[in-house]
């Protein structure tokens, strides 16, 4: 996302905002393809869409350097895409193809792209926070100015790993940006009902971590806050950034999410970050046609990618036995 590097604080210039807009549409178009793929039975495993949360991905990952490390969750397509992963390889992974980021071994929940320092989505809620701490410890030991960004949901702050990771990062003053993507739900549960006290931010502060809070659907401010947070982390200390957003789909592509009040959803739709970004761009003078062209281009790109990916070759079956381990690797079919 090199093209978004120029901006200056909340006075986001038009080009920068445009780039964000484009990236948000790319994420959404990617995931809409993936959802259709799942419905068609072509994408196999569970797909957790981040539709409605794209602003966090663009603002956080768009401000990372290519060599900064990223750790994501089960809901990580957007983060990974903005970090710079090839959407074709990602789509192949969802479709279980040989050219997938993980050769088809991981699927949506385990996308990783070490070439861009994306160290993995994770199927275990809260597991990435502790992994992030170790990566940061390594970077600090190397004297590097790279940082680690670790994104997780509001549900993850109730797992013990949250305390262990933040405590450790603070004690060792490690360069980790912890990002809580608070979409109000953990699966079908309203997280607030099961989260005591003032939530993630209060916990971060109590753990000695500098903490910022932001509207997670408002790109310009979020961009500024993320940029500032990243600068502080690059300065050598951990920061927790809590972003408030909303998941416009179900927990998975199969989840009708009937547990959400209709009014809540309707209100959230009004705050759809793509819509809000479009409004800002209109104010900045963009024509409807220009906006529509960005959307159309993103959709075209992803549709084409999907089509290519679904015709891509499957992995060879013998690859089921590779990359387990060097010593003691499976050498033969055990039956």
């Amino acid at each position: 996302m090199e093209d978004t590097k120029g901006g200056s604080g909340a006075n986001l210039d038009r080009d920068r905002l445009c780039a964000f807009y484009r990236h948000m549409w790319r994420i959404r178009a990617f995931e809409e393809c993936a959802i259709r793929g799942a419905e068609a039975g072509e994408v196999f495993g569970t797909v957790h869409p981040s539709i409605g949360q794209e602003a966090v991905a663009v603002a956080v990952c768009g401000n990372l350097r290519r060599d900064d490390i990223l750790l994501s969750t089960h809901r990580g397509h957007g983060h990974t895409l903005v970090k710079g992963a090839d959407p074709y390889a990602m789509m192949c992974e969802l479709l279980g193809r040989a050219e997938g980021t993980c050769g088809g071994k991981g699927g949506s929940m385990h996308i990783a792209d070490f070439g861009i320092a994306m160290l993995g989505a994770n199927g275990v809620v809260g597991a990435n926070t502790v992994i992030a701490v170790g990566a940061a410890q390594r970077l600090k030991k190397l004297g590097s100015d790279r940082i680690v960004a670790c994104i997780f949901g509001d549900g993850a702050v109730n797992r013990g790993t949250f305390l262990e990771a933040l405590n450790w990062a603070a004690v060792r003053t490690l360069p980790v940006l912890f990002v809580c993507e608070d979409n109000r739900y953990s699966a079908s549960t309203r997280t607030a009902e099961l989260t005591a006290g003032e939530g993630a931010a209060a916990r971060g502060r109590a753990l000695g971590i500098e903490t910022a809070e932001a509207d997670g659907n408002e790109v310009p401010t979020l961009d500024a806050i993320a940029r500032e947070a990243i600068a502080r982390v690059r300065g050598g200390r951990p920061v927790l950034l809590v972003t408030r957003t909303y998941r416009l789909t179900g927990h998975t592509s199969r989840d009708p999410a009937g547990y959400r009040p209709q009014e809540e959803l309707a209100a959230a739709r009004e705050k759809d970050p793509i819509r809000r970004c479009a409004d800002l761009l209109r104010l900045a003078g963009l024509e409807e046609a220009e906006l529509a062209a960005i959307e159309a281009e993103a959709r075209r790109e992803m549709a084409e990618i999907y089509e290519r990916a679904r015709n891509a070759p499957w992995p060879r079956r013998d690859l089921a036995y590779t990359d387990v381990q060097d010593v003691g690797a499976p050498t033969e079919r055990p039956y």
Binding site: G45, C102, G104, G123, G155, R159, P315, R317, V324, P334
Partner: protein
């Protein structure tokens, strides 16, 4: 007899136990909405939020608090969602639940049921597909149950809930939709009793959970070749029904042990070793085992297929065993 699904059978059994015994409660993430698979559907409405307890994502506390509740007279049914996530609560299960009764000299019991859905299921990949029953069999203090049919999922769940010690109760995710006959009145099935899923004289296939169906399919194929395989569904892994297995194997003189879990260090090894040690003179061939290769579960269908124990492979192994 009415036909219902494996899922519905478990749901009903739990509801019946909760009606029977006010000390039974269920706890886990998203239970109020019916659980991830729907296996708790409607229970909140009937039993209220004090007995269908929604938990934060905090496996240590879900399982650990259930140990405290069980020691004070509750009989918690603990939902772990996927067996893989139970790994976040292994200290509570193994160091606390399993040992409390012994360590405290018999002053307490820990009657809880830990539900851990296992197995391969729709490209769920490495962190949502494990079958680690062998671990729990190795842990003193635990009972391990793995139902294969709707009727058993009702009768065994009831027995597990009534058991005064911690039970690891592993449903197979691929079986939720399986239909079968379940009597209106389900009696608890004594823990530790196997079920003969198919009668045969030529070879005994000892298996459990979803593999019972795969093995039965293989047996039917073999029947076309005039090989009659007996299929024993172990149902309870600890304690396992040695009598039933010994009786059958002594009769057929050949035994194939089949499980979906990784073959190396799987529970099949315990059975095979036991049979080799204790039934050697009655065996026409050494016990054989089938299980997954020692690789994490891959996502892509052809790879997943490759590591799956299939009816073909079972039939092939049975034939080889008969030739030996």
């Amino acid at each position: 007899m009415p036909r219902i699904t494996y899922l519905e059978a478990g749901r009903r059994a739990l509801a019946e136990e909760m009606r029977r015994d006010p000390d039974v409660w269920a706890v886990g993430e998203d239970l109020g909405r019916g659980g991830v698979f729907g296996q708790y559907r409607g229970l909140l409405e009937e039993f209220g939020p004090e007995r269908i307890i929604d938990a934060p994502i905090s496996e240590n506390c879900i399982l650990g608090s259930s140990v405290g509740a069980a020691m004070t007279g509750a009989r918690p049914v603990v939902e772990m969602r996927f067996a893989d996530f139970a790994l976040c609560a292994i200290d509570e299960l193994v160091n606390q639940a399993a040992k409390a009764r012994y360590m405290f000299g018999g002053q307490t019991r820990v009657p809880l049921v830990v539900r851990e859905p296992v197995g391969l299921w729709k490209s769920a990949a490495a962190q949502h597909s494990q079958s680690l029953e062998a671990w729990y069999v190795h842990v003193p203090g635990l009972v391990v149950v793995m139902p294969a049919t709707p009727a058993d999922n009702a009768g065994l769940l009831k027995a597990a809930i009534r058991c005064d010690d911690p039970v690891v109760y592993m449903e197979h995710k691929d079986l939720w939709g399986l239909e079968g006959e379940v009597p209106e009145e389900v009696a608890p099935i004594p823990l530790g009793t196997a079920r003969r899923a198919r009668t045969g004289r030529d070879v005994t296939i000892v298996t459990w959970s979803a593999m019972v169906h795969t093995a039965t399919e293989a047996a039917e194929r073999l029947a076309g070749e005039r090989i009659e395989a007996e299929v024993l569904d172990l149902r309870t892994l600890w304690p396992w029904d040695r009598e039933a297995v010994f009786e059958s194997v002594a009769r057929t003189r050949r035994v194939l042990i089949v499980h979906e879990a990784v073959r190396v260090g799987g529970f099949g090894a315990e059975i095979a070793a036991t049979l080799a040690e204790e039934l050697d003179d009655r065996l026409a061939a050494p016990p054989r085992r089938l299980g997954a290769p020692r690789v994490p579960v891959p996502y892509s269908p052809p790879l997943e297929e490759e590591v799956r124990v299939s009816a073909d492979r079972i039939a092939e192994a049975a034939r080889a065993l008969l030739r030996s």
